[in-house]
Structures are given as C-alpha cells and as structure tokens.
Amino acid sequence: MIEIIIYVFLGIGVFFNLLASFGLIRFPDVYTRLHAGTKCTTFGSIFLSLAVIMYGLRLWYLEGFNSGNSVLVIHTIIALICILVTNPTGAHAIARAAHRSGVMPAKAVVDDLKDDRKKGRGRKKK
C-alpha cells in the first residue's frame, strides 16, 4: 500500500520538474520564466521529499525505534524547509535585479513599478 503512495509521489514530482524545464524554454521573458522555474520546481521537490520521507518512515517502522533511520526523516524535513524558505526569496531577488538592470516585461498591459520609479527619479532631480 505505502509503496504505491511512494510511486505516485515520485511520478508527480518528476512530472512537475520536467514541466519547469519545459516552461523555462517556452516562455518569452524573464518574469514568466521565473514563474515556471520557481513554482514548479518547489512543488516537485516537495513531492520528491515526501516520497523519501514515506520511505524513511517505513524503514524506521520495520527496523525498530533506535535504528539510525530517524536521521533520514528529520534531515529530509529540514532540507524541505530550507528549499521552501530560500527559493521564493531568490526569485524575488532576481526579479528585482532584472527590473533595476533595465529588463522590462514583454507585452506588458500595465507597469506600475516603472511609472513609480520614473516619478521618484524626477522628484530627486528637482
């Protein structure tokens, strides 16, 4: 039973990771590529880590309470938390750097940030 759950989780994780790299190729500009590259890899990594956590819990149950398998479960949870914290922050840093270095979104309907930055710069010059 639990093996089927592990297989399903592995399948979902690999599907979303592949989707992320295809989205990276297909989208037209930096910001939409960040959408694919951040969300899909984070979601896929969550499911891959959940599969490993299930596997470790199963080993922990089979081999007894004092075997070393608790390290597998807890360290995977810590790695998952690190990914969840650092990944969106890195995406935010890249997006801000791209906008400040002059890469504008392609085919944009509305761009409030550009207008506000232009206004602020004008005020500083006066």
Binding site: F16, L19, F22, G23, R26, F27, P28, Y31, T32, L34, H35, A36, T38, K39, C40, T42, F43, F65, N66, S67, G68, N69, S70, V71, I74, H75, I78, V85, P88, T89, A91, H92, A95, R96, H99, P105, A106, K107, A108, V109, V110, D111, D112, L113, K114, D116
Partner: protein, 173 residues
C-alpha cells in the same frame, strides 16, 4: 538579555533536531551531545543576539505557530497545487497577459511583509518583484491581468492574493 536567551534556546532546539538517534541516555540523545549542544548554542546566541530578533517577541506565542501550521497545510497548499496546474496550462497553450501591479496589504511588521511576499510568489500567477521600504506596499508581476482590478490606483488585494493578508495578520501581527 531576553534576546540572548531566546536565540540560545532556539539554537539548542535546532541542534537537538540535527542529532537525533545518537544514543539512549535521554530519549534518543546521549549526554555528550547535549553538553556540546549547550556550549554551541551559547556561542551562537552571543554572536547573533542583535541580528536574530529586532524588537518584537510576538512569535514566541505557540498559538501563532499552530495557526501557521494550519495555514501551511490548508489554504496555502491548495492554492499552490492550483498554481502549478495553472502554470501547466500556460506552458501548453502559451496564453499570457502580463503586467506589474501595485497593492497595499496594510501590514505593519517586516515579518508579515516577508511572509506575504513569499506566499504570493508560490501561489497562482503572481510573483513579488519589489517592495516599498516605507509604506510596505508590494509590486507584483501578474501573469494574467484582469480588467476589473485596474480601476483604483493601489489595486485591490482580493484579485491578487485572496484571503492571504487576513491569515498573515493573524500569524505575524
């Protein structure tokens, strides 16, 4: 002094999490691990006490952590799954309508703004690009701009991030 004690206790708990199943003197830890962990936690607490906690001790309340857990498992995870299906749809069809909008979530603390920005980055169709340092307003790249949202100048929150500011206010303020 209070900052030092909080940083030390949190460092010690993290060290205990890292060294599970090292013996069976004290549950699944051995005494030598605990002694070394206390020494390291004191060193780290002395170094980071002014950086780790600025001035507020709101997150020490365990009820807030419980609400955070409920938030992560419930609405956050569901909207994250919706986000990924949305991205899959856009990868296959290639239909986008992007723009950068400005919203005013009316949050006061740094932690609240950080949590809201990271939640927005991981949920459907939105990505936080920049933050106003004084007024805590967020600039958000939106992959599919709706016409209704463009009427007022600080755009309406409910189109972009749903009920997230309410949850974040309950957790971090």
């Amino acid at each position: 002094m209070k900052k030092f004690i909080v940083a030390t206790v949190i460092g010690f708990l993290v060290y205990l999490l890292l060294t599970t199943s090292s013996g069976n003197d004290f549950f699944i830890w051995s005494y030598s691990e605990i002694v070394v962990g206390i020494i390291f936690a004191i060193i780290v607490g002395i170094i980071v006490r002014n950086v780790f906690i600025k001035d507020n001790f709101r997150m020490l309340n365990p009820v807030r952590w419980l609400v955070l857990l409920v938030y992560l498992i419930g609405p956050f995870f569901i909207s994250m799954a919706r986000a990924n299906l949305d991205v899959a749809y856009r990868v296959i069809t290639g239909r986008i309508n992007p723009g950068i909008v400005k919203i005013d979530p009316k949050l006061k603390t740094d932690l609240g703004v950080t949590m809201l920005a990271n939640s927005i980055t991981l949920t459907p169709g939105t990505l936080s690009v920049d933050v106003d340092e004084d007024k805590n307003q967020l600039y958000i790249h939106w992959i599919n701009v709706k016409e209704d949202a463009l009427k007022k100048k600080p755009r309406d929150c409910k189109y972009v991030c749903g009920g997230f500011p309410k949850w974040v206010r309950r957790i971090a303020e």
